[in-house]
């Protein structure tokens, strides 16, 4: 079933896009992440221009994170104060990200930046997650108890000024690192077309020491708002958001996510982290290979406007 996408300006197979949305949705539901880091490369792979893919995936992630955030809200697993502080940084980061996106697009280096950031981010995060999962599994085999450092242990982050009490998360923390984290995630998300959940969640757990109960829900709120904001900015500045493409992705994505979430509950935590780490690492390595080996076609064409 072919459908012509009005902004991407190419016909696509609706069932293929639906299936891609569902598959990525399944993964995102299973691991509690947005899945943008899989969706954007997949779209580029089927022939959609990277810029259109990045801009359209933003609205797709907004949809899936909203449905997730709603269910976490009902379970009171969102810390509104923490979400607000994260957002103040996230919104600025997103604006900076879209601005960088526009600038690099005009310089012809956008594709390089997208590829490079995928390589660096995904290999690092994927590698760490894989390693951490592996160690947890080995420890479990040996019958050792996992000794998480207590949230009371103070690192340098806890010495920063402007402390604030986040009631629902039961933590007392400076707002500076929280704003900075929001800013970085917002920036990365807008440039790479990802929600950033897979980076944000580890940072919140290991660096900010937010209790796991409120981590996923709160990170979803940040993802939701930055992605809605990114959709708006991409639509206003670059006119690249394909609403038809986004809608197909959303429908596939939210459906797949439900089944993914159910499947995720049956798998043990450390196995889940190991799998997710492998998946992220694989995508990162794929991008790295593409950068290093000699491309089949050295030339690219891009329209720079000025149509008569």
């Amino acid at each position: 079933m072919q459908l012509y996408l009005p902004i991407a300006d190419i016909p696509v197979n609706v069932l293929l896009i639906l299936a891609m949305g569902a598959a990525v949705g399944f993964v995102s539901g299973m691991f509690g992440i947005g899945g943008g880091f899989l969706m954007t490369p997949l779209l580029i792979f089927v022939g959609i221009a990277p810029a259109v893919a990045v801009a359209s995936v933003a609205s797709h992630i907004a949809a899936s994170s909203f449905s997730g955030a709603l269910s976490y809200w009902r379970r009171r697993a969102i810390d509104p104060a923490l979400a607000l502080v994260l957002l103040s940084g996230g919104v600025i980061g997103t604006a900076l990200g879209v601005w960088t996106f526009t600038l690099l697009r005009s310089l012809g280096q956008l594709d390089l930046l997208i590829a490079l950031s995928y390589v660096v981010l995904l290999s690092t995060v994927g590698g760490l997650m894989f390693w951490e999962g592996l160690r947890a599994i080995i420890r479990a085999r040996r019958g050792e108890r996992v000794t998480m450092r207590r949230s009371g242990s103070h690192g340098w982050i806890h010495g920063l000024p402007l402390k604030m009490r986040f009631k629902r998360s039961k933590i007392y923390l400076s707002v500076i690192p929280v704003v900075v984290v929001g800013l970085i995630i917002g920036f990365i998300g807008a440039v790479m077309g990802i929600g950033g959940g897979f980076i944000l969640i580890p940072i919140m757990i290991y660096v900010l020491r937010v209790p796991t109960a409120t981590v996923i829900g709160t990170s979803m709120v940040l993802t939701l708002v930055t992605m809605v904001f990114a959709t708006m900015l991409h639509a206003v500045t670059n006119h690249l958001v394909d609403a038809v493409l986004a809608l197909i992705l959303m429908i596939g994505g939210v459906t797949g996510a439900q089944f993914g979430a159910r499947a995720g509950q049956k798998i043990r935590g450390e196995h889940l982290r190991l799998l997710l780490g492998l998946l992220i690492l694989a995508v990162g390595i794929r991008f790295a290979i593409e950068l290093v080996i000699r491309p089949e076609e050295l030339f690219t064409i891009r329209e720079t406007g000025g149509a008569a």
């Binding site: 269910s71 459906t255 030339f299």
Partner: protein, 263 residues
């Protein structure tokens, strides 16, 4: 070798017969029509083929040697500026380095003829009449200068090659068929990726290596209905479009959380 030899011989023959061709030049008239002057892009659009029909009208003064007619049809889509970039290996990775800007070049270009251009006209006529992708004018900006370059320039040939791969630039020297000595037809394939806009069709009639007469017609490719609405609102009212898309995302997310609610 034989190809070159043939061209030289042909060129000589043409040079000799040139005065004759000029006297006969204005006796023919071309009458053409395309099968559809308005191609609409609908949700299930996946490419289309137009047909161009035409006939060569002659009066009694025309010498009766119809086999000598040659026809070249050039279809050019809306013009746009394009940049061609070349990747080079820097610091171990492949990145875009050098680039050339092509100014107001056709986004779609199809050149069809009834036989190879070398058989139709000598090289200088081919160049002047822009017969074939190698002879068509593609203006580049090289620093402060505006110029077209030799056909084997790496950027120009890469540009033509990439456009051809998308089916947007094409050349076929057997696409025009003469149904009778004066009646001809050719198909104009429009792949799914064709840009929206007005297309110029330029038809040139050659006899004995010289241009006899030419005519032109146009057709347009338009988005209609929903596609048109989405594309124009995205471009003209980005803010409202963004709001609508964001709202759609929220509605989809909300619906999903209602539909799949477990409790």
């Amino acid at each position: 070798m034989t190809g070159v030899a043939r061209v030289v011989v042909l060129g000589l023959a043409l040079a000799l017969s040139a005065p004759l061709a000029v006297t006969a030049a204005h006796a023919e008239k071309l009458i053409v029509s395309v099968s559809n002057h308005r191609v609409t892009v609908t949700p299930n659009y996946s490419g289309e083929e137009l047909v161009l029909f035409g006939s060569v009208e002659r009066d009694d003064k025309t010498p009766a040697d119809p086999a000598a007619y040659d026809l070249v049809v050039t279809v050019s889509g809306p013009r746009a500026d394009m940049v061609t970039r070349r990747k080079e290996r820097k610091f171990g990775i492949w990145i875009n380095t050098d680039y050339r800007q092509f100014l107001q070049v056709p986004s779609y270009l199809a050149i069809f003829a009834n036989r190879p251009f070398d058989a139709i006209a000598p090289p200088e006529v081919q160049r002047r009449q822009q017969l074939g992708l190698n002879n068509v004018l593609l203006t580049q900006r090289v620093g402060p200068d505006y110029a077209d370059v030799v056909p084997d320039d790496p950027f120009r040939s890469a540009f033509v090659r990439l456009r051809s791969r998308l089916g947007l630039y094409r050349e076929a020297t057997s696409a025009v068929t003469f149904l009778t000595p004066t009646l001809f037809r050719t198909g104009i394939p429009l792949p799914a990726e064709v840009p929206i806009g007005t297309y110029d069709v330029d038809i040139k009639l050659f006899a004995k290596g010289a241009l006899v007469t030419q005519t032109d017609t146009t057709f347009e490719i338009v988005k209609v209905g929903f596609e048109q609405f989405v594309a124009t609102s995205a471009r003209q009212s980005g803010f409202t479009y963004g709001l609508a898309t964001a709202f759609m995302a929220l509605m989809t997310g909300w619906m999903a959380s209602i539909v799949f609610r477990k409790d």
